[in-house]
């Protein structure tokens, strides 16, 4: 008994640093954000307690435009799940078949993940430049002058133009996750299916995909929560403009916190982001559990 007790103390002692770090770095800021979200505060002066008024205003005020920002994020999440992940899965399944140059392709597809987002932003700013950008130059050179547009400057095209590099950047990340899963499928399972006459497609459909389902679930959670939190690339490319057409909750939060000095409202958006990310993570887990 004494031994057990002393073991528990050891366990507690060993867990304590991580627990303190977890609480200090994650739980405490969330708690602080939730607390500040109940105030009308500019970040410097006196705080005025307003209860849940910030939450009410967030969902009802057109001037803030949170619902539009949320809609943009959800659209990005949908594109991530239904466009980015299938592409990543396709690449992972192809590379998982031990094709020639597997490692080279793996490195190439993963490269955008390693490059700084600001660099990627600058790169795509140049690609989209209406005067000398590669995209418009290419369109003009093949006679599609009419298709050349001010990609980031018009609200009709800006959202799509921002989504393309966002999706492109993380295809490699999801591909790597799924590739690891594909590689972990026991070869004897594949061989047995092949011996029974299964085609490549059937092996993928009935052997590989069910086997890597937990990884697909993780990828979907990462894609959805990543889309909800998306910030850096959008900030560099358009900063939410033109006319708030590319606004997402994170850019709105920065705008509230540092440009409008509405620290309370900025904290409210932060809390909503946390709630949404947790909510979607739980929902996705539940959907996958049901399917199981």
């Amino acid at each position: 008994m004494q031994r057990m007790y002393s073991k528990k103390v050891y366990i507690l002692l060993f867990l304590l640093p991580a627990l303190i770090l977890f609480c200090g770095v994650l739980i405490a800021p969330i708690g602080a954000s939730a607390y500040f979200s109940l105030f009308d505060w500019n970040g410097f002066g006196a705080k005025v307690f307003v209860g849940f008024n910030n939450y009410k205003e967030l969902f009802t005020s057109n001037a803030i435009g949170f619902m539009k920002a949320l809609r943009n994020s959800l659209l990005l999440a949908a594109l991530s799940v239904f466009l980015q992940l299938p592409l990543a899965l396709g690449l992972a399944l192809t590379l998982g078949k031990k094709i020639r140059g597997e490692r080279l392709f793996l490195s190439i597809y993963f490269m955008p993940v390693l490059i700084s987002t600001v660099v990627i932003g600058q790169l795509w700013l140049k690609i989209y430049n209406p005067d000398y950008g590669v995209l418009n130059v290419f369109l003009r050179s093949i006679g599609l002058e009419k298709w050349a547009k001010i990609w980031l400057g018009t609200k009709e095209t800006a959202l799509g133009a921002v989504f393309v590099p966002t999706l492109w950047q993380y295809v490699g990340y999801h591909m790597l996750l799924l590739y690891a899963g594909v590689k972990s499928v026991p070869p004897e399972l594949r061989e047995a299916a092949m011996l029974d006459g299964a085609t490549d497609g059937q092996v993928n459909r009935y052997i590989v995909l069910p086997y890597i389902k937990p990884i697909i679930r993780i990828s979907v959670i990462f894609a959805v929560t990543g889309s909800l939190k998306s910030f850096d690339l959008i900030y560099v490319l358009t900063n939410g403009g033109p006319l708030h057409s590319t606004e997402v909750p994170s850019t709105l939060m920065i705008n509230m916190l540092f440009l409008r000095n509405r620290y309370g409202m900025g904290s409210t958006i932060a809390v909503m982001l946390i709630v949404l990310c947790f909510g979607f993570a739980l929902l996705i887990s539940a959907i996958f559990r049901e399917e199981k």
Binding site: F44, N129, L152, G241, L243, F258
Partner: protein, 425 residues
């Protein structure tokens, strides 16, 4: 073996700790002997900023004249600086705060003053009473106390590429709206772009809209609106918006401008791609150095019954302030005033801005374009500070959001007035 290894490891840790302790201990005598005061200065004078040479020169002069004081300048990009300084001020940790910081006058600095983060500089200005007119301190005076040191004085000017204008038969900068339209029509007909405006940075759009508004309703009315003392509900403001949109629809503005930042737009003007560039007079040095013959004027008068040609947007918007939490607040206050004065001096000589301080130095080397700007300033009958500087942060962002919609032609003049009247009163 394990015990020996553990002993060695323990000894290593003891020595490591002792080494850390020794470093801290040796620092004390150094602090005593070294009396150098290091003042941290945050500003937006980055490598590409026209103000940078003036900052560097003023700092070098100050350090040479004050041995024992070292100024460590850290420069940040304009937009990110707004976030950086506010985040630092909110945090309040003195280690992270600068001693002297760049600020925009009006409401931007006012927020720091109200929060008790900016140091009152009244005592320090006493020695400079004859060097700076009180009017130049008006935008940094809160409840009768001075908190900011102007580093320059600027107005919104309409720069022109006279070579491009000459190609379509114009030898002067148009003075009336009819002339401006005729000139722009001629440029458009010749396949040239009259104006460039950076749609990615809304403050650049205000540099076009606000001069039209002031020329329509007059400086007193606009000043009251920015101060929140009068309503936006003025039919002449709606007309001003319609005028700007009319110019956009007539093709007077570079359509690609919507996706460009200010640096690219300015580069297009300097490269001869656009005929006009309306922006702050801090660009004078760069425009004067362009390969074409340059001219300058103000946006034409729109409504003679309420305004005049010599009214414009501008003022001492760029200032240095002192953080009240600075450990060396006295030294920082003295340095801020002297640095502000000298930055202003060098900025004027470098054609980066008009002098907010008295000119007691040789100005014979000034460029002709700067002399022209000087004439415009001297004949000025009324000035209103830039809208996003004059207004507090929240209403300023609401206002900029509407300006954004104006440039994108998402709302017309009536929509602009109705929206701002509803949201800001």
């Amino acid at each position: 073996m394990k015990k020996i290894f553990a002993l060695i490891l323990a000894l290593c840790m003891v020595f490591a700790l002792a080494a850390c302790g020794a470093q801290g201990g040796s620092a004390k005598p150094e602090e005593k002997t070294n009396e150098e005061i290091v003042l941290k200065l945050w500003c937006i004078a980055t490598e590409s900023d026209a103000n940078r040479p003036a900052y560097l020169q003023a700092i070098a002069d100050y350090e040479a004249a004050h041995p024992g004081i070292k100024i460590e300048m850290e420069a940040f990009e304009n937009e990110s600086y707004k976030t950086k300084i506010k985040a630092a001020m909110m945090g309040g940790d003195t280690e992270d705060l600068p001693d002297i910081f760049f600020s925009w006058s009006g409401a931007f600095l006012g927020e720091f003053v109200n929060a008790g983060r900016a140091q009152c500089l009244d005592e320090n200005f006493k020695a400079y009473a004859d060097k700076i007119p009180e009017s130049m301190l008006s935008t940094t005076t809160y409840e009768g106390k001075h908190y900011g040191v102007p580093t320059t004085f600027n107005i919104v000017a309409m720069y022109a590429n006279m070579d491009m204008l000459a190609e379509v038969g114009w030898d002067h900068v148009p003075q009336t709206y009819e002339d401006l339209c005729a000139c722009c029509d001629a440029l458009v007909a010749a396949g040239k772009i009259p104006f460039g405006c950076a749609g990615m940075e809304t403050w650049c759009v205000t540099e076009y809209l606000e001069p039209i508004i002031i020329k329509s309703i007059g400086y007193e009315a606009l000043d009251k609106i920015f101060a929140g003392e009068a309503t936006w509900n003025d039919p002449d403001i709606a007309k001003s918006v319609d005028t700007l949109q009319d110019m956009i629809k007539k093709g007077y503005f570079d359509p690609n401008g919507a996706a460009l930042g200010n640096d690219e737009t300015k580069a297009n003007f300097l490269a001869g791609k656009t005929a006009f560039y309306q922006n702050g007079s801090w660009n004078t040095g760069e425009v004067a150095g362009a390969s074409f013959k340059s001219g300058v004027g103000l946006f034409p008068l729109m409504n003679a019954s309420r305004s005049s040609y010599n009214q414009t947007i501008g003022g001492p918007s760029d200032v240095l302030a002192v953080c009240s939490a600075s450990k060396n607040v006295d030294a920082a206050s003295k340095a801020a005033v002297e640095l502000g004065k000298e930055i202003c001096h060098y900025n004027f000589l470098n054609a980066v801005g008009m002098p907010a301080w008295a000119v007691d130095y040789d100005t014979s080397s000034l460029s002709p374009l700067m002399v022209e700007i000087g004439k415009l300033v001297n004949s000025c009958e009324g000035l209103v500070l830039f809208g996003d500087t004059a207004m507090a942060a929240d209403p300023a962002q609401v206002y900029l959001s509407y300006v954004d919609q104006v440039y994108g032609c998402a709302i017309d003049g009536e929509g602009f007035v109705a929206g701002l009247t509803k949201d800001l009163g």
